[in-house]
Amino acid sequence: MLCEKCKKNEATAYIKTNVNGDVHEYHLCPDCAAELRNSGEFGKLFDWNGLDDFGGFGSLWGLNSGFDLVSSLLSSPFGSLGGFGSAPAIGSGKRCPVCGSDFGEIAKSGKAGCPNCYTEFRNRLAPTIKKIHGNTVHCGKHSKVTTEQSHENEIASLRNQLNEAIQSENYERAAELRDQIKAMEA
């Protein structure tokens, strides 16, 4: 499908606008989509909430958060679904340094791009994760490496506390901490 604005390039971005209930759909090429995004007018004109109509997993990621969507001009479901590195270079949103995903791509596919995306977009993914699992954190098996890491972190934090205790001449507390560290290192 050709871009509806320039009628020259292949349309890869699908935008749905809702101005006071007046709904319009646009299929644009990356250039025109970027132009639209950069024109200061769009904030007044478009209700970006319409984007969650991408349906499926799009809404799962809580895509109805207004201006967050500036960087998520999503490529059309029929556009190139190319893999790593071939995502259209539209939007100035943050990208995951490991896989190159931006939040819009994650929202559209309903899948994170790589494990690091969960760190990179933690706050924006949190509402969706809550929606699926409830307000909770992991309990159960830990990956061994991480367990070791967190074990070391804990020891490091105890050492910090120990230094503080010594500095503030709280020797009773220092002795306690020293025992704890000894036990954890064993």
Partner: protein, 347 residues
Amino acid sequence: MSGNEKNTERKWYQTQGKEADTVISTRLRFARNLNGYPFPHRMTDAQKKEVNEKVRDALIGGNSALRDSFTYVEADQLSPVQLAAMVERHLISPEFAGNPKGRALLMMKDESVSIMLNEEDHLRIQVMGSGLQLDELYDTADKIDTLLDETLHFAFDEELGYLTACPTNLGTGMRASVMLHLPALTASGTLNRIASSLDKMGATIRGSYGEGSQSSSAMYQVSNQVTLGISEKDTLSNLTEITRQMIALEKKARAGMLKSEAYQDTVWRALGLMKCARVMSSEEFGELYSALRMGVAEGIVTDVTLDRLADLYVKVQPANIMEQYGKELTPSQRDQKRAEILRNELR
């Protein structure tokens, strides 16, 4: 993966497990991923190859304890029929079979453990067993997971647990399923009401192949829904409890059904048709199988055992028929072969 090799090795489903009269099989799946690579839906072919080889080497390379227990096969080396037959044996997912490029499989010779590589996640570790055995399977899956983690260092987050492509699997990354045979609850029409109460207990129920396609055989899969914020241990004991309740309900419903002369007749007729028919469709087989399985489980028919029936069930699935005959067959040719296999096996 030659046909001969396949026939010599005894498969997990050819033995009978606990609660076999109502529980067909149990399955556990762990979703695991490697740091530093995109998830499969964003990977290049070269990255997929790297992950395949890393996992293969971690499991069966060098001096691994499991070196001789697993075989490695790249999915695009398998024919469409072989792939479909593996789906029927629940070794791989339909999704995996439908898109074999860049994917690989590690499997134990008795097919009780299979690891899909580059399906939705880098690894899907799957363990299966007959009857009800959630705790036993967990021990096996846990050991394999721990062994692989030592070399692969799976992606993990203190708050989110194991990191998975789809957020629905975060946390333990564990999906536990029990396959139940519920002919009496199906007949009495109470299953819908049970399904909605399962939802409240954090479990779901669906037809045996995920699509409800085989509901004529009254097989259902009950699985846990939530993976974040609940430990593996609690998930399993919750699912065991739900399964026990379903078993009790099914048995109660069966007791009433078994008294009826008409039902006993249904069971014997099922056996009769299977022993004599010349043409049999999948649908017809599903219904007859369900009646016969219940008849065997409840001691009405004693000349067949449940493990033999389970083996038979696999043998007459469409792709498994074609695999045995070594060629593609039309549906009507398959219906003839199905009847032929049944006659030979039940003679």
